[in-house]
């Protein structure tokens, strides 16, 4: 299994280029945590807190949003058109080269 490369812009504007495994059932929130980036993941990945909100900057075709994610984003702050919850994005080979930015803390 290959690792995919992901560029993560943190809240200070620093870009971190990280490698994420595609065979460990990880999601984007967990990848951020594994690199000790400042993502809380308070609810553990249940789409219930929005602390892993990020903006998708590249043109990757992403997995469709499930209802839970849409509902949480409709109650979150700093939401933009390209907002997603990192915990709802599984790391797959298609995500190689993905670029995201962490949303402000709220």
């Amino acid at each position: 299994m290959v690792d995919v490369k992901i560029k993560i812009k943190d809240r200070e504007g620093v870009i971190h280029e990280v490698l994420a495994p595609t065979d460990m059932a990880m999601n984007l929130m967990e990848v951020c945590k594994s690199y000790e980036l400042p993502v809380e993941g308070t609810c553990g990945g249940m789409a219930m807190c929005a602390s892993c909100q990020c903006y998708v900057l590249s043109n990757h075709s992403m997995s469709e949003m499930e209802e839970e994610e849409e509902a949480m984003l409709s109650e979150a702050f700093y939401v933009k058109e390209n907002s997603r919850l990192g915990c709802q994005i599984p790391i797959t080979p298609e995500l190689d080269g993905l670029e995201i930015e962490l949303a402000p803390e709220s």
């Binding site: 809380e40 219930m48 602390s51 209802e67 949480m72 409709s74 109650e75």
Partner: protein, 349 residues
Amino acid sequence: MIKTDILIIGAGPTGLFTVFEAGLLKLRCHLIDALPIPGGQCAEIYPKKPIYDIPGFPEVLAGKLTENLLEQGKQFEPGFTLGERAETIDKQEDGSFIVTTNKGTKHHAPVVAIAGGLGSFEPRKPLIENIAFYEGKGVEYFIKDPEVYRGKKVVISGGGDSALDWAIFLADVASEVTLVHRRNEFRGALDSVDRVQELKVLGKINLITPAEVTKLHGEDKIKAVSVTKEGSEQIIETDHFIPLFGLSPKLGPIANWGLEIEKNAIKVDTFDYQTNIPGVYAIGDVNTYPGKLKLILCGFHEATLMCQSAYKIINPGKKYVMKYTTVSGINGFDGSRKEAPKAVVKAIV
């Protein structure tokens, strides 16, 4: 002044299990929690979600787990200060502590165990200019006494269960209820969604979606809010604005207690989970040490070891050995006794 042996801050699973382990050592516990109910995140945020990694439980609902923990510790008669946040800690000359809550309730104990999880749950405040100015002047993030709203105009915003439930409840109390949500869809129990729909048709709830409260008006207290729907703004007169956007945990005042903090967690010695302040322990998700895992099962282990150490502080020099409940049974502080049935000894002839 409430007096106890171990004052536990946080009534989540780790705090609740501490009551049991302390009880085996004949130590009494009292718990403080910012939430109005015990159970912490498990009870407040995801009571209906299953947990699969509690040893011996192939599957258990989070709410059921905390119910069971309360039941398990019941005979040790824990005390509770709920709906209050531990604010300050003062070390006494004899080494004991007085912990005071935001409502002024004082607790005195020789040992303090912080089992605060990710922190105390604070309301998530919407990003509206001047909202802080109106707090307590018509803007409320919690509904404590619904009678306050009798005959008043109320605007609620949010799209989850609490926004729906309170809109339904206040429809019969307030003179006018407006519910504003960013989407047409609500994330709540199906019957609450249906009920809001009915009340809308009956004209008892003024539902505005997809829309947002964008401005607050009023000189000394709130008089009106601006609601923006699809680019156009309307002004709605109101006496109260209640944003219900859920809760987010904050370490809060504990961060100023002089404890060594690393990345929002309290550093402990893994020997007994004591912090840099002797007599103050940190257990469960709130602590950190090399190799830390934020798991309920690790919190249980930490609570157990912590109680053994706390015993030595509370009963200096007094001998004790760890006992097995299967062998010794459990003597409750309420006079109850649980024990294994005696073995039957019978001759075979």
